[in-house]
Symmetry: C2
Subunit: 427 residues, 2 copies
């Protein structure tokens, strides 16, 4: 029954971002949530809220829920394995054979249950998820995520060329019709989960398929997610495949799937040119920065300092299984660490990102793709985590920022004690 209550006060040591430089900390504060929306964070409970039920987490950190802007659910089964390959070989050797197994609904159920169970018990409250091209398994995944109470977009993947026979749609028309049918069936089917149009990436999607998906997008008005400028070999390939495009993002833009009125997430953006960045900024394209994946697949390090300073839209992605870890806490510290290596090894023009900036990206930055999400400012949807630091004891009293920073580095998903989404208590 507890899950139906969306009005409550949470008491504890509260930390949240208001902008990318600013981490607000309120020791012994009160987070007031009414009908799933934040009314504010207060040092004393305001008069009008004094009768609301209160949960006392004194001494525990309370932070906004985390957003994973890019994760492949079917790849969860091989995360942390066979990491000695770069992107295109890794897709052919590891990814495509594994994804093909999801035509078997039994296997899909076994594997997706493990993924959703871990997603549920971690710090992620919002996610944008790739499934596979198989509609039945994608719908199963949507059901499981919905049952877990996670607010998410889930995408049936489209791919009709340069893919192995065993994992390839027959042709553009069949693929887009199947996608449209899937949208009809799922657009209003779940409480927490919505579909998202998901062309895998330009190399595996013919021009015809992309154009038809753009038409489907116009009709159904759903958002779009894909990959962009992750790896040098991939970028060169796109140049060959779409010779009329000025740059990789232009290939998406040419068919109308690159932001503007179409809410769009592009994962990686490691090697984006200045021209590509300019267009992403103009069109409000969301960048899903996936630092660990970009390490594991030897892709490089995205110029996140530039994206932040240009006020571009950016959040974090675990990119399982390019990334091994599902935790967005880990993605925050990975983002800081790789930015330091980029600074030292590649160019000292772009300063490393700070803890405040990493925390912002993992909460409010990515959360904003879902609306007013990822902060405790008034009017935000109340996604909140209560954190348990008992496994990382300290010999002295610490300030809230220090405690939060060490939680990011040392604890992560394992230390999430309670989780609320839109005011609902998940656990």
């Amino acid at each position: 029954m507890e899950g139906f209550i969306t009005t409550r006060i949470l008491k504890g040591d509260i930390c949240y971002s208001t902008d990318k430089q600013t981490l607000k900390t309120v020791p012994d504060g009160y987070l007031v949530c009414e009908n799933g929306l934040v009314k504010g964070v207060f040092e004393q409970i305001p008069k009008q809220y004094q009768k609301l039920p209160m949960e006392d987490y004194s001494g525990k950190l309370i932070i906004p829920g985390l957003t994973d802007l890019h994760v492949h659910a079917p790849q969860y089964s091989f995360r942390g394995m066979k990491m000695d390959l770069e992107l295109l070989d890794w897709l052919n050797t590891n990814t495509f054979p594994e994804e093909s197994k999801y035509q078997d609904l039994e296997y899909a159920k076994r594997a997706y249950e493990i993924f959703v169970n871990d997603l549920r018990r971690g710090g992620t409250t919002r996610a944008s998820i790739f499934a596979t091209l198989h509609v039945p398994a994608t719908k199963l995944l949507m059901e499981l995520v919905d049952d877990a109470g996670i607010e998410a977009y889930v995408g049936k993947v489209n791919m009709d060329r340069n893919s192995p026979d065993y994992l390839c749609e027959a042709n553009a028309l069949a693929a887009s019709m199947e996608t449209a049918q899937w949208l009809v069936e799922t657009q209003d089917a779940y409480e927490h989960v919505k579909p998202i149009i998901t062309p895998r990436f330009i190399p595996t999607c013919s021009d015809e398929l992309m154009s038809m998906l753009a038409r489907v997008q116009k009709e159904f008005q759903v958002p779009v997610q894909s990959h962009l400028s992750e790896n040098a070999g991939e970028i060169a390939w796109v140049r060959e495949l779409v010779p009329e495009s000025r740059f990789y993002g232009d290939a998406y833009d040419g068919i109308g799937l690159f932001g503007g009125e179409v809410p769009t997430i592009m994962a990686h953006c490691v090697h984006s040119t200045l021209e590509e960045m300019k267009l992403m900024k103009e069109r409000g394209v969301y960048i899903a920065h996936c630092p660990q994946s970009n390490e594991n697949l030897t892709s490089g390090v995205a110029p996140v300092r530039l994206y932040l300073d240009e006020d571009m839209k950016i959040g974090l992605g675990s990119d399982v299984a390019g990334g091994a870890n599902l935790s967005i806490f880990r993605a925050m510290t990975d983002a800081i660490q790789v930015s330091k290596l980029r600074y030292r090894l590649l160019s000292e023009q772009l300063k490393p990102i700070t803890m405040e900036e990493a925390f912002f990206m993992g909460t409010k930055g990515g959360g904003s793709f879902f609306g007013k999400v990822g902060s405790f400012e008034e009017g935000y949807e109340c996604d909140a985590l209560v954190l348990d630091e008992s496994r990382i004891p300290h010999p002295q009293e610490l300030g809230l920022k220090d405690r939060l920073e060490r939680f990011l580095y040392l604890s992560g998903d394992d230390g999430v004690f309670h989780k609320f989404i839109k005011g609902h208590k998940i656990f």
Copy 2:
């Protein structure tokens, strides 16, 4: 009483390195340990061992214990905090103020108990540890580590210049006499712990102090640990301080504390010149590669491919608190990940290191500083870990190498189920 038994057979899925390219895997194998020494790994129990007591861990991975070649115990309290500084500022702002607290034995006890408790329950069976300059707290740490049954070297730190008044030895003579006295008192005092001479690094140790420590080393015949070529600012400073040295390592070598007959660990070696490498190789100096610390303090990435290909002596270090995580499992995956970024961002001449190489460094590579340690070949001291994968379920059967790789990436210290050191069961 269990702890006194050092003869047993462990049954399970056994993995260990024989050399840096070779990971041996024996499913359903038997690790025979007699009087603390490995007799071998067998597919069937040989006749002469059939009466030994057996512990059945069928279905669980069994691997050698891990060696942490470089960790600062007093810094454990601020790991994962205030990470936005480079080495020299970080020392002055974070490290020295914290280390000064260890003159208070009460504080030292509180803090060191947390460190040793975590060290005990993780995968590390051997460690080379920096304490602080305070003798009473250092002896307390030695006792605690000894009580935990961890085989370790612990060093009272020496520093007599360029250090704050509150954390600086009075002069070279007093410092070296105190160090000699400490060696007298501790050299044979513990079952598992030995002292190691620990000049912090050249910038904080006067020429006089270094010479006297070299004399003390000759007299007591104990090993030495210090820092080398971690950060550009530090290296430039050493050049100023010891103008007659040809390179940083030469400053240690000039006073006879750089390998040869003196077993020596040098942490970092990120920016070693070819000349320095050549001397390290000649003298058999151990490199403690500390990948996460080198990220966090924006130091760079050590050329580990070169060290491995040159058959230099190398192991892994957590370098807490430059590194946030005490786990050597984590150090293995960090080592792989940073080597990929070095390859991509700095120079494609040095190929990324493989999972086998990282596992080798964390087991047999670093272990060899302690003798025949870190493998399951015949005659090795029997340090072993039984691993629990139940928190990282998988929808399919996997091979041993894949299981081990995902354990490194996904589980680490939290998944250590049983731990044996020299055949003693720690838990």
